[in-house]
């Protein structure tokens, strides 16, 4: 997309980029000028250092700037801290690039706001009607129940460093879990950033696997890549859990060797995708980032003109 000489979430370095949120498949390094919410810029600085961009231009939710002959506004997407939809207005027409989004409640970020528009660009990570995420508090209740059935085992939960980790922690706290939560080293920096942003995560401790005994019966969060490998094997008889929308499908959970699949996602499920198409009222929808065909078909059933927009570099993001 380049209506005003800039790109949204470009996959290769560009002159001017607008970034929807800090996940690595959206916020890539090396752009000369980057515009994003202050939280997203902070996340990019934390993850990419100087690679975050030449000049960083913060744009708060709801503020409008003109770039060429296009007005740009960022609106909450409900995906992770700082995540935004990019609203573009030009010659009386409005397009919304929603990035990744969800409609389910999340104490760690501002909720999604539907924006009425002419063209809506939507993700479709979970663009099949079998993906319908259950309420997240029920999934956390299953985790806490497992901890009562296996009180001596270490429960290790795979969760992405940005967003999922902090959301799972707030869900646990909301469910009354007030013991310290142990974190794999890779998760700590972004938790600190969330806390700086005023999000209460309770007591967090580094999970030093050297003290496997101390972690007996504890709850450990780790990146999904670590839960089934060398790092986790040093824990005490771990119960391996993974918090991801993909866990809805049993075969996916089995492939990951997961004993306790937790269906907790930061992406819209099928019902949220369909509701959102209805809410934004756009007569034209571009579908990207996932399983486009089913959502394009569904849009057609709703009388919406839809087409798949295949973007290179958008793999299957686990969330």
């Amino acid at each position: 997309m380049e209506p005003g000489g800039f790109h949204v979430d470009p996959v290769a370095p560009v002159e001017r980029a607008v970034i929807t949120h800090g996940h690595s498949d959206h916020a890539r390094p090396g752009h000369r000028h980057v515009m994003a919410t202050p939280a997203t810029l902070a996340i990019m600085r934390r993850r990419l250092g100087d690679g975050a961009g030449g000049t960083l231009q913060p744009l708060g939710y709801g503020e409008a700037v003109r770039v060429g002959d296009v007005t740009v506004r960022l609106v909450p997407a409900g995906h992770v801290l700082g995540s935004a939809q990019v609203v573009l207005e030009h010659a009386g027409a409005r397009a919304v690039v929603s990035g990744d989004y969800k409609r389910a409640p999340d104490a760690t970020c501002a909720p999604f706001e539907p924006v009425f528009c002419d063209v809506f660009v939507t993700e479709a990570t979970f663009g099949l009607p079998v993906f319908r995420h259950p309420p997240a508090h029920g999934e956390v209740a299953r985790l806490l129940h497992s901890m009562t059935v296996f009180p001596e085992r270490t429960h290790v939960v795979g969760a992405y460093a940005l967003g999922k980790c902090q959301r799972v922690i707030t869900l646990l706290r909301a469910a009354g879990y007030d013991r310290p939560i142990h974190l794999h080293g890779a998760l700590m920096p972004l938790c600190d950033l969330y806390r700086d942003a005023g999000i209460d995560l309770g007591e967090l401790r580094p999970a030093t696997v050297a003290d496997a005994a101390e972690l007996r019966g504890a709850l450990v969060l780790a990146p999904p890549g670590a839960i089934a490998d060398r790092w986790a094997r040093r824990l005490s008889d771990p119960v391996v859990a993974l918090a991801s929308g993909w866990m809805r499908v049993r075969q996916r959970a089995r492939q990951r060797g997961v004993e306790l699949p937790l269906v907790i996602s930061d992406h819209a499920d099928w019902d949220e995708l369909v509701d959102t198409l209805r809410d934004v009222g756009a007569p034209e929808v571009w579908v990207t980032h996932g399983r486009e065909e089913a959502l394009v078909h569904q849009a057609g059933r709703m009388g919406i003109r839809a087409r798949a927009l295949s973007l290179l570099g958008f793999g299957e993001e686990g969330a």
Partner: protein, 527 residues
């Protein structure tokens, strides 16, 4: 239904047997009657009602979901019940119903048991609208008879014992006298009522099992105290014929009568017997592989009855008529068994002979000479041993002949389960046929934890290809593999299959070119 669904979900993902037991214990402890009893029945396969066909479920889904969306979804998920459970547009989690209105397991089972087949799908449709995705999945698996969560009747009974503190063999003794939803069983295990009457029917009586003899035990095998028998390589069974009832039970109490009519046909007596189920042709015991053709089936064809005729070699007698012989010493029971056999002469059965021996050395020679098909080694039974349920250490020993070994080359490694899920711990190995390696077996154990770490490291460093959880490794590591026997097999590329292979030693020192050849393995095949 929600509790049952949560149990089904948790069991399905639980790799370890011990973990499954703890999940069941938690369920029995926290679920009221009769739901826990129905759950027990559903898991142990004792629930009977008109089942629904997958095609009917598919038709039902088609009334609610767009055909193309369903097709894409089914293609992705790969399981019909799971697809329908996930895609079903009703359900309380989507605001279509009140979670408190979800049907209980009792409501579902009672209604299904009373329903005519023609009315089942209408009931199911109503329930699907009131259940969440987990509940819908459990319901659909239940009504299609496809609840596969790796829980055997034995495991469920073990969990009942673990939860209640009652001994497993006591649970087994009454198991066949109680019926779903097992109110009297739970009342007893809860301590609210006495033990249910085991009855005089053809119920299963828990078996007496032998422990493996160790080096130190052998010296005490004196013919004055011990009787010896061959240890036959079949499956241990109990024959129970009481009145009109004729049952064959596996060692764990599973009723396998239906697939062995060639044995039940000849059980026109009133007794409970202990023996070994074998395939015997013209008086000769066939390899275990032949018996395997008759196991794990729901039905049996006339051709199979002809090709693999079943036979029972009798070891012991537990009841003759109504008389409980279990408290008698072994030699007294043996005398009763011999008299009984002389009088009844049942076809397709004979007596396992006692093996005379002079002393421990003689016995060791007999054991190691026992290479013919159908014999795994020796059984030693104390002359004064009563028939006691379970596996008491002391009165009975099994003394297997030494294992066979070959040097094989590691070919593939796969991630294990549970504790071992982060290690490559399942090893497929092969031997040379000309210039190529052909797989001859797979071993999961026999190495120490420390060796596992080294094996895992070796696998990671020598991987040449990956297929999902499996890694193919370069031929570079020799494993000395021990196994009990080897049979011809058409299912394996090598034409042979090992029984109970395990890693005996890791031959870090041995070049793979010096590993054994297929001809060597073939020479060990049982006749």
């Amino acid at each position: 239904m929600n509790r049952f669904a949560a149990l089904i979900d948790a069991l399905a993902f639980m790799p370890s047997r011990n973990g499954k037991i703890r999940l069941l214990v938690d369920h029995f402890a926290h679920t009221p009657d009769p739901d826990r009893g129905w759950a027990l029945a559903a898991l142990t396969g004792t629930l009977v009602f008109a089942e629904a066909k997958p095609a009917a479920i598919r038709r039902l889904a088609a009334t609610r979901v767009d055909a193309e969306l369903f097709a894409w979804s089914y293609d992705y998920v790969g399981d019909l019940a799971e697809t329908v459970a996930l895609i079903w547009p009703g359900g309380p989690e989507h605001g279509a119903g009140d979670p408190a209105a979800a049907p209980g397991l009792d409501e579902v089972v009672t209604a299904l048991q009373g329903a005519r087949r023609a009315d089942v799908m209408e009931l199911v449709e109503g329930w699907l609208d009131r259940l969440d995705a987990s509940g819908r999945y459990a319901l659909l698996k239940l009504i299609t008879g496809a609840l596969r969560v790796g829980v055997s009747a034995r495991l469920a009974k073990t969990a009942l014992a673990a939860w209640s503190g009652v001994a497993l063999h006591d649970v087994e003794e009454v198991w066949h006298a109680v019926t779903p939803p097992y109110g009297t069983l739970f009342a007893w295990l809860d301590g609210r009522a006495g033990r249910p009457d085991a009855g005089t029917g053809a119920g299963f009586r828990p078996l007496m099992l032998a422990t493996a003899a160790e080096e130190g035990d052998a010296a005490s095998f004196d013919p004055g105290d011990w009787c010896a028998e061959w240890k036959w390589d079949g499956i241990r069974v109990q024959l129970a014929a009481r009145g009109a009832e004729r049952r064959i039970y596996s060692r764990t109490g599973d009723d396998v009568s239906a697939v062995f009519p060639d044995v039940t046909d000849h059980m026109s007596f009133d007794a409970v017997l202990d023996g070994e189920l074998l395939v015997v042709r013209d008086g000769t015991v066939a390899p275990f592989n032949d018996l395997q053709q008759r196991l794990n089936r729901k039905t049996v064809t006339a051709a199979m009855l002809r090709a693999y005729p079943a036979f029972v070699r009798l070891y012991d007698i537990l009841f003759e008529g109504a008389e409980d012989l279990r408290p008698l010493p072994f030699v007294a029971r043996r005398a009763r068994l011999e008299h009984w056999y002389e009088a009844v002469r049942p076809r397709r059965m004979d007596l396992s002979p006692l093996v005379p021996f002079a002393g421990p050395e003689d016995l060791a020679a007999l054991r190691d000479g026992a290479r013919e098909a159908g014999i795994e080694g020796l059984m030693l039974k104390r002359r004064d041993s009563p028939y006691v349920a379970g596996r008491p250490r002391g009165p009975w020993f099994k003394w297997k002949r030494g294992a066979l070994t070959v040097d094989a080359v590691l070919m593939y490694a796969q991630r294990g389960h549970g504790k071992r899920s982060s290690f490559y711990s399942d090893f497929t190995f092969g031997v040379w046929r000309g210039e190529e390696l052909v797989p001859v077996g797979k071993a999961y154990f026999g190495f120490t934890d420390a060796e596992l770490v080294e094996l895992d490291r070796w696998v990671r460093a020598h991987t040449v290809r990956r297929f999902g959880p499996v890694r193919e490794v370069a031929p570079g590591l020799v494993l000395e593999v021990a196994f009990d026997s080897v049979n011809r097999s058409t299912r394996h590329k090598s034409g042979v299959a090992m029984r109970f292979p395990r890693v005996h030693r890791i031959r870090w020192d041995k070049p793979p070119g010096e590993a054994d050849r297929l001809e060597t393995v073939e020479s060990l095949v049982d006749r």
